[in-house]
């Protein structure tokens, strides 16, 4: 077996791409979170722009549609003074049969400095990072089921904001974990930052036993999973799960695993409720909880812009 250096880090251990939280040292995560704090205060000023990425071209390559995520990346890049170009790939060249790498090569010829990539297949950003020029940086905005590192980081920022100390928390992640890139990134981040108890909660079809290899405790009983939790992260349930014979209906899912006021009462009284969005009211979460005083779902969005600014400025300043 040949040795493999983590493609996200350069020879000095500095972050040049953000592809996954897995394999990143704790210090790197903390640095990004600290930098995000600076940008949060920038976003509260009247002049919300700083010139860190001035003259740089950031290309948003979204092979999977997502107006929300793309918009936050666009705002983040614009606030860093970058030029942002949005490419709706799903409808253009790959539909005409152009290969992924040909698309990248063509865009590189247009002097791209950074690619923000969302793709339906796990591992796609690694392929891109491997094939683009040394000075180009890649941010993974979500690849298949594998990773959504900026979401993981903004979730950590949220937890740090409300709970401060990671090392004495109990965090429960609830829902369709096997298909969730957000869950995987959250799990890697939580374990790296030293959270002692991370629970994965859901039915066996959505929460496989081998998740324990990632350092989580698997709970198929919602009450057991939520009890005493400081943080509850609810995941979105997608309709495909019903057609894939993994769940009978959204209604039955809500009955067993939906977050209601009653279930929330099992957690600590000051527990916070998080959700990567968009939320399915009445499927994974009750409206009264989503809009309630323990919900931090909207602040997550605000933190998301600052975290993405931190990620883009951090990787942009490090050379391959």
């Amino acid at each position: 077996m040949l040795s493999r250096r983590n493609p996200q880090l350069n020879k000095n251990g500095e972050l040049i791409h953000l592809l996954s939280i897995e394999g990143l040292p704790r210090a790197v995560l903390h640095q990004i979170l600290d930098t995000a704090g600076t940008f949060l205060s920038v976003n509260e000023r009247e002049v919300k722009k700083v010139p860190l990425l001035r003259g740089k071209s950031v290309f948003n390559l979204f092979f999977e549609n997502s107006t929300r995520t793309r918009t936050t990346f666009e705002i983040a890049a614009t606030r860093l003074s970058a030029d942002v170009i949005n490419l709706d790939i799903a409808r253009s060249s790959t539909a005409k049969g152009e290969s992924l790498l040909d698309t990248i090569a063509n865009l590189s010829a247009m002097h791209a400095d950074m690619f923000v990539v969302r793709h339906g297949e796990s591992g796609a950003p690694y392929l891109i990072a491997q094939h683009c020029a040394p000075h180009v940086h890649v941010v993974n905005a979500g690849d298949g089921r594998h990773a959504h590192p900026t979401q993981g980081l903004l979730d950590m920022y949220t937890i740090k904001h409300y709970k401060q100390d990671f090392t004495n928390l109990t965090v429960a992640i609830v829902g369709d974990i096997v298909h969730s890139r957000v869950a995987r990134s959250d799990i890697h981040a939580l374990t790296t930052l030293g959270v002692p108890e991370v629970r994965a909660v859901g039915p066996k079809t959505l929460v496989p036993g081998d998740l324990t290899d990632m350092g989580v405790r698997v709970c198929h009983d919602m009450a057991e999973g939520i009890r005493g939790a400081d943080v509850i992260i609810m995941l979105r349930l997608q309709n495909e799960r019903m057609s894939g014979a993994m769940l009978p209906s959204a209604g039955e899912f809500f009955k067993n695993y939906g977050l209601t006021q009653e279930k929330l009462a099992l957690a600590k009284p000051d527990a916070i409720v998080m959700h990567p969005g968009p939320i399915n009211r009445g499927v994974e979460i009750d409206s009264s909880v989503a809009d309630g005083r323990q919900s931090v779902i909207l602040p997550q969005v605000t933190f998301g812009i600052a975290v993405r600014m931190a990620v883009m400025s951090t990787i942009s300043g490090n050379n391959a």
Partner: protein, 431 residues
């Protein structure tokens, strides 16, 4: 042409011969091994001092990519790759384009191969028309054209009624059916189900996809008495089922690929598409069972599973990449590496790629059965002469195959093929 191979260490696993001896070859046959007559005047003398002279390798799983997939491999390049790897006989799969389901296509392939005068090609015919799993092919006609068995390649037949009838028909005439034991529904993943696939977000193929298929096949074999060769086992549980089925006396044989002999799912690394294979690479426990199973004979033969894949089809995200790896030129070295690591005598290692594959082919080889994969006086002169301790680095660009993708790129492996003789003429040399 008369050839004299001097002073090599002659190892013939079938007979147990292992001694330094000269070999005389004339008119495509081995004239004598040792005690070569002084009247034998060779036009070519090969000095095999320090080298091993073994039977030419027999590879039971090769994709030549002709007809139809010429952007991935041409007969010329893949046959050159075969003899460069010391392979003198190979069995090729029917998943070409068009599928090898008509005698005319088989005859054409054999004709083209014969003209190249390199390795012997033994095609597998499709079990069903276009591999679609509905209508049986004309197995008798295909056998007459030269097919040594019938296969569905990677396409499972989910309809058990069709499977049953296909095996029953094949059993009527004593044909062997070559099957990949993989359930058509559970088998639809891109990596082995397990902690690694979960972590990497890749759809997983559970081991039960193999064991369920094996159990189904065994029941059908019990019922029809058809001979079945199981292709590319991948799991410890599967190997255990084969062990018990053989103990029961079922007419089954099986093979395993060089990739699964050495690698596990961890080798996927950062989504390396060279590791995209079917069946998928499993865990350490499974690899250990494969290594033990090959050593104790539960697994009959080691194959290269040679599958050249076009560059464009590998430069894709893992799940979209086409599965397959080039292997003809690595078969010997990977076998030797395993043999060394397992502490086996070299003759036993070599048997897995010479005499054992021939036993699997059995009567389908016809008159050649008595001498293929063996070194016998009077038999066909197919030999592989190699330097067992010479190490070489796997450089994809230097491979003769058009398929440059191998999980072993950059590895240093033992065993360099120095000369390959097919039907008494030198097909490849690299002295």
């Amino acid at each position: 042409m008369k050839i004299l191979i001097k002073n090599g260490r002659v190892i013939d696993p079938a007979s147990g011969r292992d001694e330094t001896a000269d070999i005389a070859i004339a008119a495509g046959r081995i004239v004598s091994i040792g005690q070569v007559s002084p009247e034998f005047h060779a036009s070519r003398k090969i000095n095999a001092t320090g080298l091993i002279v073994a039977p030419g390798l027999v590879d039971l799983a090769v994709r030549l990519r002709e007809p139809g997939h010429e952007h991935e491999g041409m007969l010329e390049s893949e046959m050159a790759a075969a003899v460069a790897g010391g392979v003198t006989s190979l069995v090729c799969l029917p998943d070409t384009d068009p599928v090898l389901d008509e005698p005319g296509l088989v005859e054409m392939l054999k004709f083209r191969a014969r003209n190249l005068n390199q390795a012997h090609v033994y095609p597998l015919g499709a079990l069903t028309r276009k591999l679609e799993g509905e209508v049986l092919t004309e197995m008798a006609e295909l056998t007459e054209a030269g097919c040594v068995g019938f296969s569905q390649a990677e396409v499972p037949i989910n309809d058990t009624l069709v499977m049953h009838r296909a095996l029953q028909y094949a059993a009527t005439f004593g044909y062997t059916t070559w099957l990949r034991p993989q359930d058509g529904f559970l088998g639809n993943g891109v990596a082995a189900k397990g902690a690694l696939a979960t972590r990497m977000g890749l759809s997983g193929v559970p081991a039960i996809a193999e064991t369920i298929a094996l159990n189904t096949i065994f029941e059908l074999v019990r019922d029809t008495q058809a001979r079945v060769h199981l292709c590319r086992l991948s799991s410890a549980a599967g190997i255990e089922l084969v062990r018990r089925a053989k103990a029961e006396g079922l007419p089954i044989t099986c093979d395993v690929s060089v990739n699964h002999l050495h690698l596990t799912d961890v080798d996927i690394g950062y989504f390396n598409a060279a590791m995209r294979l079917t069946p998928p690479l499993r865990q350490q426990r499974d690899r250990d069972a494969i290594r033990a199973g090959l050593a104790d004979g539960t697994i009959d033969a080691l194959v290269s599973d040679h599958t050249p894949v076009d560059e464009d089809m590998k430069a894709l995200p893992f799940a979209e990449a086409e599965p397959g790896a080039t292997g003809l030129e690595l078969l010997l070295s990977l076998a030797l590496q395993w043999g060394e690591e397992s502490g086996l005598p070299i003759a036993q290692t070599l048997s897995k790629i010479t005499s054992a594959p021939v036993r699997v082919l059995g009567e389908s080889l016809g008159s050649l059965a008595s001498s293929a994969g063996k070194l016998v006086q009077g038999g066909v002169a197919d030999l592989c002469i190699f330097a067992p301790d010479e190490r070489w680095a796997v450089q994809p660009g230097a491979l003769k195959s058009q398929g440059k993708h191998t999980p072993f790129a950059g590895y240093e492996l033992p065993g360099k093929v120095k000369c390959t003789v097919v039907s008494g003429h030198v097909a490849h040399e690299a002295f």
